[in-house]
C-alpha cells in the first residue's frame, strides 16, 4: 500500500503508515461492519444521528456529540459506549464486545484514529458488509458450535470426590477457584431431597426410616434405582418435557378449540421416560416418528409409540376463523420452528424469520428451510396402533371377499333365469319416475311404449346423454383443479393416511359387506377410493396436493357416512361456526354422487389450498362421535362448470340396447347387461356403469342379498367376514402430522408475506450441514436424522444441561433455552462436554445421566448455611453446597393432595389455554406458548393468599387432619405432630418448633381444631414447598 497523506477535516494533519491502516483494516473495520453499521450508517439508518460507515461521518459525531476524540480514548463517547460507561451501552441490546476488541479501539483512538474510509459509501457498495458466509463462519467459532470433546478427567486428591468424573471435574474446579465443598447432608435431608428431585413426591415415612437405619452408599444407590424404576419418575420428568414443548390441549384464542387426543402425547412422554427410551430415538420420534421404518411398538398396549412423537407440532396457538390464512400459517409454523429449535438445539431459529440472525450463525434461509419441511406436512389425527393391530385381519378379509365375489357372481348368474318373470312383475314403488339414467329407468318408463315411442325416446336420450358427456368432458378439461381417484396414478398427487382400504384406489365393482342384519352386500361401487372395504371402523384421511384457489365451485363424486370433507386453506385446521370461511362439510350419502361442497372460493381466490376427506373420528377441528364412519370418492373438481351425473342407463351398459323396439327385446337386453356385468364383475374387470347397474339390481332385490336365502357356503363366508370384522378394534388416535408432497417455501423478504422471493430448498441449519434435502417427501425424516447426526454439536449438550438444571437447580449453561451468543457461557465447559459425550456413549440414556448426577457427591452436599462463604461464590456456580429452592407448582399441589390421600397427580389434569389453573399459574407454571426450560420462581403475595385462603389447602388440611385424628385417636397433639412431620418433612420436629406450636395451641381446646391447625401451618410453611 502506498504512503498516503490524509487531511482530517482541516483539524488535523497526520501521516498514516501502512501499519496503522493495516491495524484499522484488521482490527477496527471488521468490528464496525459487523456490530455498528447496521444501525449507524449513512444510507438511511443513523440512530442517534450517528453514522460510522465513513471517516467524515464518524468524526462529525451524532446527537450526543463527537463520537471520538482522536488521541483521547478516555473522553471518546465511542469508547465509553463500548466499555458501558456513563450510561452508554453499545452495541445496543447485545453482549458487550470482548476486552481485546475494546483495547484495540482504545489503541486506535489513542494513536489518532487512522481511518482510510474517505468516501461516503454508496448503496451499491452495500456498506462493505461482509458476505453472510463470512459472518456465519466467524460466528460458528462460538463454543456451542464446536463439537463436544471428551475432556481429560483430572485426578483429585480427595477420597470421596475421586470416583465419579462429575465429582472429579467439580472438585478440581472448586480447588481452582479456591473453594471447598461443604459437608454431606444428613440422611433425612438426602432421602427427602432425592424423592423430590427424582419423582416429585415426598418420601413415605417407612422409606425414610429404612434409609435412616442404613444410609450406606449401597442403600442409597438401591434407593436411587428404585425411584428411577418407579412409575412416578416419568410422571414427574414428563412435566419438564411438556414445558419444553409448550404442552396444551387447546389452541387458545376465541372459543379455545380443543386439540383432539392431545393427552396421548403426555402419556407417551411418561411411558417413554419410564422406559428410558434413548434420547436420539425420542428426537427422531418427535420430528418424524410416524415415518420411521422400524417404529417402536408397545406390544402390551398394541400401539406404535413412535407415531405419537410429532403430536407436539399440533400444540400451536391458533387464531380462530382467520381471514388471513397465510399470516396464520406463518405465525403457527414460526411457533413450531421456535419450539423445536429451542427445545432440541437451544437456539432461536425463529429470530431469523425477517433477516439473518443478529448474533448466531443462523441465516434467514435456515428459517425457511425448516418452514418448507413443516408446511410439507399437514395437521391431522393419526392412527397410532401397532402395525399388527392396525392391519388386523386385512389379508384374511381380502381373501374371504375375493372368494365371496366369485361365489356370489356364480350364484347370481345362475339366478338370471328368473329375471324375466321378476322384471315383468316389478312394481316401481317410488313416487317419482326414475330417470332414464338409472338402470331400471328404461324399463319403468318405456316397457309399455310403442315401438316408435321406444325408438324415439331412446334416440332422444342417447343424444341427451352424449351432450351431457360432452359437458362432463368440458367441465373436467376446463376445471381449475381435477382429481381422478379411480386411477392408481396419483397425479395430481394425493395421499391417504389411516389404516383403511383408502390407501389405494379400487377398480370398479369394488364392494362392501354388511356387518349386521339380514342382508349380505352393502353396495357395489364404481371405481374410486373407499375407506370401508375392510371395516367402517378403520380410520382414513385423504388429502390432495396443494392447488391455488381459482374458479367458483367445488364438487366431489362422493359417498360415505359421518365423513367430513373440506377445502382447507393453507393447512388451517380450524373452522368457525357461523362463518363459512373454513367450512367443514359433513356428509351422509350412500352411493357416490356428485355433491357440491360448501366452500368459499371467491373469498380465498389465489390462496394455496387442498382438498381433504376424513372419517368421523379423524375430523378437524373436532372429531365426530361415530366409531363407524366411511367415505368413498371417485372424482374431485374445482371449477366454474358443474359436472354432470351420467348414471348407468341400460344403453350405456349394452350399446345395442339403443336399437330395441319391443318389450321382449328390452328384457333380453337387460339380461345381457346383467350377464355381462356379472361376468366382468367376477373377474374384477367391470366398468363403472356395470358396477352401478349391478348395484341397482342388488338394491332392488333381484340379485339375491338375503342371508337366509343365499346358499350355505356363501352364508358361511359372510359369517366369517363378520367375525373377522368384529375383531377389528376402534383405532387409537393421536394428534399428528401427515406427509404430503414436498414443498419449498419462498423466502419472505423482511418476513413480509407479500414479498415472496425464491423458494429455499428444505434443509437443516447451514452451520451444521449445507446439503439440502432430497425432495422426495416432507423432509421431516431427513430433518430428524440431521438433528441427531454428528454434525449437530448441540443436541446432547442442551439435553444434559437441562437434566443438570433439574437436579442441581441451575444449568451449567444457565440460559437453558439459549446456547447462542446471547446465552450464558458454560460454568464448567469440560463437565458439560463430558456429560454430553458420555450421554451418547451410554446409549443416550436419560436415566443413566440422571443417576450419575444424583449419585455424585455434589448432589449430597448440605444446604445448611453453617460455614458457607457466600461472598466468594454468591450464586453457588461451583456447587460447593446444594441449592435449596422452591418446588415447582405441580409438585406442591401433588404433595398437598397426597397428604390428603388424593394421589391423582396434576400432570393428568387437562391444560386448557384459556382456563389455566390459577393455583399453578401463581406458582409459575408457564403459559404454554413457547419453550420454557427454566421456570421462574417469583415471590408474590398471591402465593401466600392462595396457600392461606385457597380451597386446595383448606380442603386438604381438613382431610389430612381428619385422617390423622382417625388413625391416631386419643393421642396427644404432639404425637400427631411427629407423625405429620414425618409425612411432610421426613424429619422429627425440633424442640423449638414444638414450643412454637405449644404456644399457639394453648388457647385451643378442641383436639380436632388442633390437628387442623397443625396441618394448616405445615402446608403454609416454606419448608413444605422447598427442596433443600
Amino acid at each position: 500500500m502506498a504512503f498516503v497523506l490524509v487531511i482530517l477535516s482541516g483539524r488535523m494533519l497526520e501521516a498514516s503508515t501502512d501499519d496503522s491502516i493495516a491495524f484499522f483494516e484488521e482490527k477496527i473495520r471488521p468490528v464496525l461492519v459487523q456490530h455498528c453499521y447496521g444501525c449507524h450508517n449513512s444510507l438511511g439508518k443513523a440512530k442517534g444521528g450517528l453514522a460510522l460507515d465513513y471517516r467524515d461521518a464518524l468524526l462529525e459525531g451524532g446527537d450526543s456529540g463527537e463520537a471520538i476524540l482522536p488521541g483521547n480514548p478516555g473522553e471518546s463517547l465511542l469508547i465509553q459506549a463500548l466499555k458501558h460507561q456513563n450510561g452508554y451501552e453499545m452495541p445496543a441490546q447485545a453482549p458487550k464486545l470482548s476486552d481485546q476488541v475494546i483495547q484495540d479501539f482504545e489503541k486506535w483512538v489513542q494513536s489518532g484514529a487512522v481511518d482510510p474510509r474517505h468516501e461516503k459509501p454508496s448503496a451499491t457498495t452495500t456498506q462493505g458488509m461482509p458476505a453472510w458466509e463470512k459472518t456465519r463462519d466467524e460466528r460458528s467459532k462460538w463454543w456451542a458450535f464446536t463439537p463436544p470433546q471428551m475432556p481429560m478427567i483430572p485426578k483429585v486428591d480427595a477420597d470421596q470426590w475421586s470416583d465419579s468424573p462429575i465429582d472429579r471435574l467439580l472438585y478440581h474446579r472448586m480447588l481452582q477457584e479456591g473453594l471447598a465443598p461443604h459437608e454431606e447432608a444428613s440422611p433425612e435431608v438426602i432421602v427427602r431431597r432425592l424423592h423430590l428431585i427424582l419423582v416429585g413426591r415426598l418420601p413415605a415415612p417407612h422409606v425414610v426410616e429404612t434409609f435412616l437405619a442404613d444410609p450406606s452408599q449401597d442403600a442409597y444407590e438401591t434407593l436411587v434405582d428404585k425411584l428411577l424404576a418407579s412409575e412416578e419418575f416419568g410422571q414427574h420428568w414428563a412435566r419438564y418435557w411438556m414445558d419444553w414443548y409448550r404442552y396444551a390441549e387447546s389452541h387458545g384464542s376465541e372459543r379455545d378449540p380443543r386439540i383432539p387426543y392431545a393427552s396421548m402425547y403426555r402419556d407417551y412422554l411418561i411411558r417413554a421416560l419410564n422406559d428410558d427410551v434413548p434420547y436420539d430415538q425420542l428426537i427422531l420420534e418427535h420430528i418424524a416418528g410416524d415415518l420411521l421404518e422400524t417404529p417402536r411398538v408397545n406390544q402390551q398396549m398394541g400401539i406404535n409409540e413412535s407415531a405419537i412423537g410429532p403430536a407436539h407440532f399440533r400444540m400451536v396457538p391458533h387464531g380462530f376463523g382467520v381471514t388471513d390464512a397465510y399470516g396464520e400459517q406463518i405465525s403457527y409454523v414460526d411457533n413450531q420452528i421456535d419450539v423445536i429449535s429451542k427445545a432440541m438445539l437451544g437456539l432461536t431459529v425463529s429470530c431469523s424469520r425477517c433477516h439473518n440472525h443478529k448474533f448466531d450463525p443462523i441465516s434467514q434461509k435456515d428459517f425457511y428451510r425448516f418452514f418448507g419441511v413443516l408446511t410439507s406436512s399437514r395437521p391431522s389425527s393419526v392412527v397410532v396402533d401397532s402395525p399388527d393391530k392396525a392391519n388386523i385381519n386385512k389379508s384374511e378379509i381380502q381373501q374371504v371377499k375375493a372368494t365371496l365375489r366369485t361365489r356370489l357372481a356364480e350364484h347370481w348368474k345362475k339366478d338370471l333365469s328368473r329375471f324375466e318373470s321378476w322384471i315383468r312383475e316389478y312394481k316401481h314403488g317410488e313416487d317419482e319416475l326414475p330417470s332414464l339414467k338409472r338402470p331400471i329407468g328404461t324399463w319403468v318408463r318405456l316397457r309399455d311404449a310403442s315401438s316408435e315411442e321406444m325408438v324415439g325416446a331412446l334416440q332422444a336420450f342417447q343424444n341427451e346423454l352424449a351432450k351431457e358427456k360432452q359437458q362432463q368432458t368440458e367441465a373436467i378439461t376446463q376445471a381449475n383443479f381435477y382429481l381422478d381417484f379411480r386411477t392408481s396414478e396419483k397425479t395430481p398427487p394425493w395421499t391417504s393416511n389411516g389404516n383403511s382400504s383408502a390407501a389405494e384406489s379400487s377398480r370398479p365393482g369394488v364392494y362392501a359387506l354388511k356387518t349386521e342384519g339380514p342382508q349380505a352386500v352393502a353396495a357395489i361401487y364404481p371405481g374410486g377410493v373407499y375407506s370401508h372395504l375392510f371395516s367402517e371402523k378403520n380410520a382414513a384421511v385423504l388429502s390432495s396436493g396443494n392447488f391455488r384457489v381459482a374458479g367458483t365451485h367445488v364438487y366431489a363424486r362422493l359417498a360415505g357416512s359421518g365423513l367430513q370433507a373440506r377445502v382447507a386453506i393453507r393447512n388451517y385446521p380450524l373452522a368457525r361456526p357461523g362463518s363459512d370461511l373454513h367450512h367443514v362439510n359433513e356428509i351422509d350419502q350412500t352411493y357416490p354422487r356428485w355433491i357440491k361442497l360448501n366452500s368459499n372460493l371467491k373469498y380465498w381466490k389465489g390462496e394455496l389450498s387442498h382438498f381433504e376427506i376424513r372419517t368421523s373420528k379423524d375430523g378437524l377441528p373436532q372429531p365426530g362421535a361415530a366409531d363407524k364412519s366411511w367415505f368413498g370418492v371417485a372424482e374431485f373438481l374445482v371449477g366454474d362448470n358443474p359436472p354432470a351425473e351420467l348414471g348407468a342407463p341400460l344403453i350405456s351398459v349394452v350399446p345395442e340396447a339403443k336399437e330395441i323396439a319391443s318389450t321382449e327385446a328390452m328384457v333380453e337386453a337387460y339380461q345381457l347387461a346383467l350377464k355381462e356385468s356379472l361376468d366382468a364383475w367376477k373377474t374384477n374387470q367391470c366398468t363403472d356403469v356395470q358396477a352401478e347397474f349391478l348395484n341397482e339390481f342388488l338394491q332392488l332385490g333381484f340379485l339375491e342379498n338375503s342371508l337366509e336365502n343365499l346358499p350355505d357356503d356363501i352364508r358361511q363366508l359372510l359369517i366369517q367376514y363378520r367375525k373377522l370384522e368384529a375383531e377389528i378394534p376402534i383405532p387409537t388416535r393421536a394428534p399428528g402430522l401427515i406427509e404430503v408432497h414436498p414443498r419449498h417455501q419462498p423466502l419472505l423478504i423482511r418476513g413480509n408475506q407479500d414479498q415472496e422471493a425464491e423458494p429455499v430448498l428444505q434443509g437443516f441449519l447451514e452451520v451444521f450441514d449445507e446439503e439440502p434435502f432430497e425432495a422426495s417427501s416432507s423432509g421431516r425424516l431427513q430433518l430428524a436424522n440431521r438433528i441427531v447426526s454428528e454434525s449437530n454439536t448441540l443436541k446432547s449438550r442442551v439435553l444434559v444441561n437441562r437434566l443438570w438444571a433439574a437436579v442441581f437447580g441451575r444449568g451449567l449453561v444457565a440460559s437453558t433455552d439459549n446456547f447462542g451468543r446471547l446465552g450464558e457461557l458454560p460454568s464448567h465447559p469440560e463437565l458439560l462436554d463430558y456429560l454430553a459425550v458420555q450421554f451418547e456413549k451410554d446409549g443416550w440414556s436419560i436415566k443413566n445421566a440422571v443417576r450419575a448426577m444424583v449419585t455424585s457427591q455434589a448432589f449430597r452436599r448440605t444446604s445448611h448455611p453453617a460455614g458457607v462463604d457466600k461472598e466468594s461464590d454468591p450464586k453457588n456456580v461451583f456447587l460447593t453446597y446444594f441449592m435449596p429452592r422452591r418446588l415447582n407448582a405441580e409438585v406442591i399441589v401433588d404433595n398437598v393432595n397426597s397428604l390428603a390421600s388424593n394421589d391423582q397427580r396434576v400432570i393428568y389434569r387437562p391444560v386448557i389455554r384459556n382456563e389455566l389453573d390459577p393455583f399453578l399459574a401463581v406458582f409459575n407454571a408457564p403459559v404454554p406458548v413457547s419453550t420454557v426450560s427454566t421456570r421462574s420462581t417469583t415471590n408474590v403475595p398471591a402465593q401466600a393468599l392462595a396457600m392461606m385462603n385457597g380451597e386446595l389447602v383448606m380442603g386438604a388440611a381438613k382431610q389430612w387432619a381428619k385422617q390423622i385424628d382417625a388413625s391416631h385417636a386419643s393421642k396427644h397433639w404432639e404425637e400427631k405432630l411427629i407423625v405429620m412431620y414425618a409425612q411432610a418433612y421426613a424429619r422429627k420436629p425440633r424442640e423449638d418448633e414444638i414450643e412454637s406450636f405449644q404456644e399457639v395451641l394453648a388457647s385451643t381446646d378442641d383436639d380436632r381444631d388442633k390437628t387442623f391447625f397443625l396441618a394448616y401451618a405445615i402446608f403454609n410453611s416454606k419448608e413444605f414447598i422447598y427442596v433443600y
Binding site: 387458545g252 384459556n914 390459577p918 406458548v929 427454566t934 398471591a942 385462603n949 385457597g950 418448633e993 419448608e1023
Partner: protein, 470 residues
Amino acid sequence: MCIEPRNRREFLKWTSAGISAYALSSIINATEGAMPIASTQHHPAKARSVIFLYMSGGVSQVDSFDPKPLLKKFHGQPMPGTVERTQFDAVGNILSSPWKSRPYGDSGIEMTELFPKLADHVDDLAIVRSVTANFSEHAQGNFFIHTGFPFLGHPSAGAWVAYGLGTSNPQLPPYVVLRTDKAGIPHGGVSLFGNGFLPAVCGGSVFNLTGDRAVPNISPALAKAEQKRALNLIRSLDSGFASRVIAEQAIQDSIRNAETAFEMQQSVPDLVDITGETKETHDLYGVTSANPHVAQFGKQCLMARRLVERDVRFVELLCSSVGIGAGGVANPWDQHGDILQGHGQMAEQVDAPIAALLADLKQRGLLESTLVVFAGEFGRTPFAQGTGRDHNPYGFSVWLAGGGVQGGRVRGATDDFGYHAVEDVSTIYDLWATVLHLLGIDHERLVHRYGGRDMRLTDVHGNVWKNLIS
C-alpha cells in the same frame, strides 16, 4: 434515573431467578417483597398513570368519532373499490349512520351524537382517526392491541407499563383490570392481561367489583384472630427454616409476602368499598343509575379514579353486554346486527360515566397526570352486514385524553367512506409508543430479554404521535 437493559436484568435477578413468569390475572399481584420501587425514565414523564377504557367488540368509527357524510349519499349502494376480507363474508351495501353529526366544542371537531356527554369534553380529547390493526378476529385482535402479538404469552401493555414504572404502592398491584359480574373477560381470556415473560407482579390483577370479593382468595379462610395466630406460628417455623438453609433472602421475601397478603385481606376490601364517596359523586358517575349497565360501568370509572389516586399505574375497564346483535359478554360492542339499538345502548352505558371520570379527574387535578385511552380491537365496516356492521381493522378511531395530551386535536383520516386509513396511517404500536412516551419511557428502550431476544411492547415498530403531545 435511566435503567439500561443490563441493569434492568440485574434488577430482575433481585426479584426472581427466572426468565418466564406469569400470573393468571384472576389473582392479585401486589409487590411487597417482589419488586422494588424503581422506574425507568428515559425523559421527563407527563403522565403517571393510564386508564384504558377497553371497548371490546369494536366501536364503529363512522357512527362515532369519524362521521362520513358521504355514507348518507351512497346509502344502499354497493361499496365501491376493493372490499377486504371480512370474517363473516356477508358484505352488504353502504349503511349510513343512524346518528347525526355536528361540530362540538371550541375545537369544532365533528362527532356524531352517539356520545352526547362525552362530546362536551371534546376539547380534552385527541382523536386518532387512522388507526389500523392486523387482525379481523376478536381474540387475535384483543391480543394484538393488548400485547402487540396475536396470541397469548406476551406481556400486556399494562404489564409493560408496570415493568417500566415500577410501583409506589406496595399494597396494590401496579396493573388492575376492573370487571363486574356483567362485564366479562374479552375473547382470549385473562391471558390478555398477562405478564407474559415479565415478572409476575407486572401481570394484571382482575378486580371483580360485584359483591364483596374483588379478588379470589382475598377473604380470610379462618377467623381473623385465628389466622393471625397461625401466621405467627408459620413465621416462626419459616424463620427457623430460613436459618437452616442457604436461601434466606427468598424465604424472608415470602415471609414478607405472607404479611402483605394478610394486610391486603383488609386493604383491598377497603379500596373497593365506595360507600365513603359522596352521593354527588355516585350520581355523577352513574353508580346510582337505574340502568344496570350504566351503574356497573360508572362503578368501574369511579374505582379507576380511586386506583389512580392510590398510584396504580395502569387501570383497564371492561364493558358489559347489552346482548344485541352478536355482542356477547366477551365482545359487547360487536353489533353485526341491529347497530342502532346495540351501539345506542352500549354508548349509553359508557357515555355519562366516562364524561364523569374526565370531569372528576380534572376537578381533582388528576387529569394532567392521568392518561385516559379509549379503544377497541378494531372498528366496523361502513357497509352493512344485515342491520349491523362487520369488523374493520383497516381504519378506526381511538382517543386519548389527559396525561400530557393536547386536547381538541384530530390526527389522521380515513377515506371518504371511513373504511381505510389514508392519512397519517397509524398502528397499535404507535398508540403504545405514544403512551409509553407520555409516561417518560422510550418504547425502543423498554426491553426484556426472553428466549434469546430483546422483546418490546412495540416489537420492531412504533412511532410516537408527537403532534398530539402538549
